[in-house]
Symmetry: C2
């Protein structure tokens, strides 16, 4: 199947790399908002087009992976490009998913295409774990923890503080909270009790470090409700130790069964990811395979990970899955 990429940032590059690991896929083209001649991609011989030309290339692509940001790009891009392609995105503004779904669904149906929104790990695999676990254990509690990993939003917030040259923020789940949940204690946890925030900051020369630290730690919404640690490091240290984009987290469901609800169960799903965008890309491609198949079966409209039977994600036939993975 022929994959197109729209938007060549971290996620687009992740998709490009992941295509090489899926033998039934090939990269057909990349669309960019930049001048195409300025975009160097990893795959030899694959054309880069300007987004304004998408329509001319609609027959070159089975599924278009839209790699824009959730805040402003995807709400416009996904309903727009589903007019020409089957599309998939990783829209991750949880509160706006219903609205995004409806917009994409309408445009997809009007144009006889299929779309899948919010693929990735949260939303995505974490959502699947919440759904499966809630169905299995209807009486229970849900817990989601994130990290250890880089929060892009919080890193951006640090970099906007006066006197900060560079910065990166790691979200870290509190180990004792994880243990309490894992032990079936069903704790009620405040924001502060669930996660801590660790910041690595390169300050400008002569900057007031105490002031920077204070500004970060008291920043409303971002840091004020958390226990935050600020480390000042050199530019060299920053370059050496903080270039990666690791992430991950935990989804728990704890519940009870039995005549007297006397038996406890704990379901735990954990991701430990060296590269957030590359893992997200890998999830996206599995679901791209699924919607490509569904479209061939005549299915249109907007889907989410909840609507996809898992067998559709695999390149292997049902017989082989049953023999080797069931």
């Amino acid at each position: 199947m022929k994959i197109g990429i729209l938007g060549y940032g971290n996620l687009g590059r992740g998709v490009e790399c992941a295509i090489r690991q899926n033998k039934d896929m090939e990269l057909s083209c990349v669309f960019t908002r930049r001048d195409p001649s300025s975009v160097k991609i990893l795959t030899p011989g694959v054309p880069v087009y300007n987004v304004s030309d998408v329509e001319a290339h609609k027959d070159e692509v089975d599924v278009l992976v839209i790699c824009g940001g959730s805040a402003t790009d995807l709400p416009k891009q996904t309903p727009e490009y589903v007019k020409y392609f089957n599309v998939i995105d990783s829209f991750d503004t949880h509160a706006r998913i219903p609205e995004h779904f409806n917009n994409v669904d309408k445009a997809a149906k009007e144009n006889g295409h299929i779309a899948l929104i919010s693929a990735g790990w949260d939303p995505g695999m974490f959502s699947l774990m919440r759904l499966y676990s809630n169905c299995i254990l209807p009486e229970g509690n849900d817990y989601t923890f994130w990290g250890k990993g880089v929060s892009q939003g919080h890193s951006d917030a640090i970099r906007r503080v006066p006197g900060v040259k560079n910065g990166k923020q790691y979200t870290i789940p509190v180990e004792s909270a994880l243990e309490a949940v894992r032990n079936g204690e069903n704790p009620t946890l405040t924001t502060r009790q669930k996660h801590t925030r660790e910041c690595f900051v390169v300050a400008e020369e002569g900057a007031d470090l105490a002031k920077i630290e204070e500004t970060i730690k008291t920043m409303p919404n971002y840091f004020d409700e958390y226990d935050t640690t600020v480390h000042f490091i050199s530019e060299e240290e920053f370059k050496r130790d903080h270039q990666g984009i690791p992430h991950g987290g935990f989804v728990f469901r704890t519940g009870v069964t039995g005549a007297e609800k006397e038996n406890k169960h704990v379901i735990e799903y954990r991701l430990k990811l060296d590269s957030n965008p590359e893992f997200t890309s890998s999830v996206i491609l599995s679901f791209a395979r699924a919607i490509n198949r569904l479209h061939k079966e005549g299915v249109n409209g907007c889907k989410t990970v909840f609507d996809i039977a898992p067998a559709y994600l695999s390149p292997l036939p049902g017989e082989e899955l049953r023999a080797h993975l069931l």
Copy 2:
């Protein structure tokens, strides 16, 4: 929806309890091979029939949960009863799944019914985790660990040893092996390095304890390839501490992504279950809901957990799932 139970042992009782936790379900009847008047069930007012009468009650049931054993019961029962009902089982002899699937599929299609085989946690939720993870990370390694939990087969084997009055065996994953996998070390593990076996034995009066211990530890297939511990305990201790049927385990997938495959990822799914049969029952009922819906949409034949879009497991409409779980 109306649920029937065929076979009223640990699993059947688990299904009965789980029905109470699912408001859209009710227990319609129980079928037993025993004299129905000898079977006391928990739910007041629900009839118990002899299995020989199934056909007379086929319209009283939307989905029949077949709670027989995998060795000899299910290979006969599931293809037989799918003639009269939509059915679900927890067939767990991995090597014989393809054969069982084909038999059930043929009978289901001939009679316009739907069946789902091998629901539970392994096969079942563990299989789903293997499938999702393999699709997401095509280049990587799979690890499954079981325990800490009771192995019925190994407990039976202990009880057959001369001089043993009662016994129970716990399978325990080796902590250092779990840690190595979790750290992305991709270890190659022997049988002995993955699990240990712990036995609690009540000996008959005057029995040769050293002989019993030796017989257990050297038992081919069951214990000889493992580090096994044998504890002799009193009947009272046994009754007090070893009545439960806990189980669980871990499914890992470790894989790489990136241009140079430089980034590692670890996916871990863990279950910690106080009651193996009750958790299995809870999984079964979710999938029973799904096949009941699919049958109403006109779907026939044999399915597995791989074939079910997760949204079908939930009593909630798609809109609500997208708003609250995605």
